[in-house]
């Protein structure tokens, strides 16, 4: 024990990282999940008002007053020029592009008959959603009903009178018959629910979302509507990137091994220069990381039916870009450290931090907005965004240019810094 303690005390880097690592990691999780409520992310919602009635405007104003929502009726201005309001088509395109997870379309005629307990009598609100976000659509569906009750009291009263007039005025035989039919329908539904519950719990995704709700809503998946693998492709990318980082760090560490056992000196006394050597190591890291990605996605394809085959070009482009960036990071980590003992804790700290805020452990839309922005400084975030574009949004390869540009740019910058730091090995 004494010798181990002395060894640890003398390796200042390893000693510091042994204590900084857990504190740093704890702090990240505390900020993400234990932060103040005002730092929690707002759910982005696109609204399209096709009705332009007092009722629809009242409903949208009510949604805008909700603190947890960020309601947008039009895209952000471009170069100071105000953009036109969303239409049903542009809102759907925006959800597909990942601008927001949900869009609400208030149709023509909604104001004439906005409330319908138990069934739709007229045009219904359309809720377009990206099903990779499992939270936002449910939040908005619930808030929509709440807002309907709280922000449209006049409409509610008017509609109530209308229903009373329609269903209870005078209780003519016809009205009596309709009320009875309605009650009978409710009884049948309750009875069916009661008998089904013990053996087959209701699937919330299959249940009628409008049951008992004042505002009828039609929900439609505009992204991933034909996919049955939910978050599988997301996590195939997310987990792969995290492990790629570990792999690259370990592969970059061979530079430290060679420096420690003398082979680096020997290599550098030959025709091989430090630049050539590092470029070779980078190629090795990239090849290893890309192979790991291939294995992971082939497994996801075989076992979880992720559609790899029809996305091969995009996968290769974003996969190689990601492998290049993580390979360069691995070289940088190795160049910063003096020993393997230092590389272990440092790479663990960097990789777990990047993975947690970059979306490898849980989707970034769960995180506070500030952390989401910081997450953009990580390789994980850009790589996962790229893979999501390919596998979830079915976007063409040309749409990957922002992710590819960032990953390649980051890779070049990190490798340049690593090369600079590696000068200490060139001459003693």
């Amino acid at each position: 024990m004494r010798t181990a303690l002395i060894a640890l005390r003398r390796d200042r880097g390893a000693l510091a990282l042994s204590f900084i690592l857990p504190i740093g990691f704890f702090t990240i999780f505390a900020v993400i999940f234990g932060g103040r409520h005002d730092t929690m992310p707002k759910v982005s919602l696109l609204v399209v008002d096709e009705d332009h009635s007092a009722t629809s405007q009242s409903l949208i104003r009510g949604l805008e007053r909700e603190g947890s929502l960020s309601v947008k009726a039009r895209p952000a201005p471009k170069q100071g020029v105000e953009q036109p309001e969303y239409t049903a088509a542009t809102a759907e395109a925006a959800v597909k592009a990942g601008v927001a997870s949900v869009a609400l379309i208030v149709p023509h005629g909604f104001g004439e008959n906005p409330i319908s307990f138990g069934g739709a009598n007229g045009p219904t609100i359309q809720l377009l959603k990206d099903s990779s976000d499992m939270v936002a659509p449910q939040v908005i569906a619930g808030l929509l009903q709440k807002v309907a009750m709280t922000s449209m009291p006049d409409v509610m009263a008017e509609q109530g009178s209308k229903y009373m007039d329609e269903y209870a005025g005078g209780f003519t035989p016809e009205q009596k018959k309709r009320i009875d039919a309605g009650l009978e329908a409710l009884r049948r539904r309750d009875s069916a629910e009661n008998s089904a519950q013990p053996t087959a719990p209701a699937d919330p995704n299959r249940a009628d979302p409008n049951r008992g709700m004042p505002i009828p809503v039609t929900t439609r998946d505009v992204v991933g509507e034909n996919k049955n693998n939910g978050m599988v492709s997301y996590y195939a990318a997310a987990v792969s990137v995290m492990f790629l980082l570990f792999t690259a760090s370990s592969a970059g560490g061979t530079l430290l091994d060679e420096a420690e056992n003398g082979t680096l000196d020997r290599v550098l006394s030959s025709r091989v220069t430090m630049g050539t050597l590092m470029a070779g190591k980078l190629c090795y890291c990239v090849l290893l990381a890309f192979s790991q990605l291939v294995v992971m996605f082939v497994w996801a394809w075989l076992v979880f039916k992720v559609d790899l085959i029809s996305h091969i070009p995009g996968f290769v482009v974003i996969g190689l870009s990601t492998a290049f960036a993580v390979g360069a990071l691995g070289m940088l980590l190795a160049s910063i450290c003096r020993t393997r003992a230092q590389l272990g804790p440092l790479s663990t700290l960097v990789i777990l931090t990047m993975s947690s805020i970059g979306g490898s452990m849980f989707p970034r839309y769960f995180m506070p907005e500030a952390i989401q922005k910081v997450g953009l400084l990580t390789i994980n975030a850009w790589a996962i965004d790229g893979f999501t574009k390919i596998f979830w949004r079915d976007e063409p390869v040309s749409h990957l240019w922002p992710q590819v540009a960032v990953l390649l740019g980051v890779g070049v910058a990190l490798f340049a810094i690593a090369r600079r730091l590696a000068r200490r090995w060139v001459y003693s």
């Binding site: 056992n261 003398g262 082979t263 000196d265 020997r266 290599v267 550098l268 006394s269 030959s270 025709r271 091989v272 001459y427 003693s428």
Partner: protein, 317 residues
């Protein structure tokens, strides 16, 4: 050698020329103004105790250390030039090998680092395996080899590109006597083929057996240079050495030895004499001073005697 060298070098130029080389590490001057020439086909020994500056000098020649002053040229080319690198082979003191790779894979890798490809690489690997007597262990990973075999492979890896000048930095460190003899034979084979070599060691016997000339190095300076006989003659002329061991080598004995012009090291006093009759005088003087002798011997001075004579310290300090 079995095949032609990888580079052709003008024979008129010296294989290695060092001028005023200085290297400091903070306050310590590891190499202090060394000037040295290696002649064609010569094996030059660098003999000195640990910490004398031998390895720093070798690493400066091979370009792994940037000297603070001085120049190194290989066949007239700067040491860091591509031509110099190809002409120079380096066997480092540590086992600088890839432990997970086999003997053959190690040699192939280092050959490729020196630009060898295909037939040239294959031929060089076969020659190295044969020279190091490792042909039957070619497919064995380094980690499974004995200490002596690793040493031989370490040497072979430094020769894979068929250099004309070889720097051997204590290649027998940690090797048992039998394995050491095998290494000597390998080096003698190279010498027989006209390869120029610098061989560093702190073993006098190695320097005496292998080297044509010997440079004695201490505290970063060359304090003597010449053949073995020249060094001894310069230090002792025709004198011989008397070694006397006292039963009680205390301070009084030390003072008496110093007064008589001798050196006391590890309980053994060394005196130099011209005539054998001086031994009797020495015995008489010791008896008169009351110092009891356990034994006494006469010997011709060797390199160790030279080093002790020049530095006042033993070679293996």
């Amino acid at each position: 050698m079995a095949s032609a060298p990888a580079v052709s070098i003008p024979s008129s130029l010296l294989p290695l020329q060092i001028e005023g080389l200085v290297k400091r590490f903070g306050e310590v001057t590891a190499v202090n103004g060394i000037t040295l020439e290696l002649k064609s086909g010569e094996c030059l020994g660098l003999l000195g105790p640990n910490g004398a500056g031998k390895t720093t000098l070798i690493r400066s020649i091979v370009g792994r250390i940037v000297p603070d002053a001085g120049t190194v040229s290989i066949f007239g080319e700067r040491a860091d030039s591509s031509a110099a690198r190809m002409a120079l082979g380096w066997v480092p003191q540590e086992l600088a090998l890839y432990w997970a790779l086999t003997c053959r894979e190690n040699l192939e890798s280092f050959g490729q680092f020196h630009g060898l490809r295909r037939a040239a690489l294959k031929s060089a690997v076969e020659w190295c395996l044969d020279w190091a007597a490792l042909t039957d262990r070619a497919q064995e990973p380094v980690k499974n080899l004995s200490g002596g075999m690793r040493r031989r492979l370490n040497m072979a890896a430094g020769l894979i590109h068929r250099p004309q000048v070889i720097l051997m930095d204590e290649p027998t460190v940690g090797v048992d006597p039998q394995a050491r003899n095998r290494i000597f034979e390998m080096i003698e084979k190279l010498s027989g083929e006209g390869i120029s070599m610098i061989y560093t060691t702190h073993y006098m016997e190695e320097a005496e057996r292998l080297c044509d000339r010997i440079a004695i190095i201490d505290h970063g300076r060359i304090i003597a240079l010449g053949t073995r006989d020249e060094l001894v003659r310069n230090a002792f002329a025709s004198r011989s050495e008397v070694l006397a061991r006292f039963t009680n080598a205390d301070a009084a004995v030390a003072a008496w030895v110093k007064e008589r012009g001798g050196i006391l090291e590890n309980g053994i006093a060394r005196f130099t004499i011209v005539h054998a009759t001086e031994i009797a005088e020495l015995l008489d003087a010791a008896a008169k001073a009351g110092h009891e002798l356990a034994d006494i011997s006469l010997r011709k001075p060797n390199l160790e005697s030279v080093f002790l004579h020049l530095t006042g310290r033993e070679l293996r300090d």
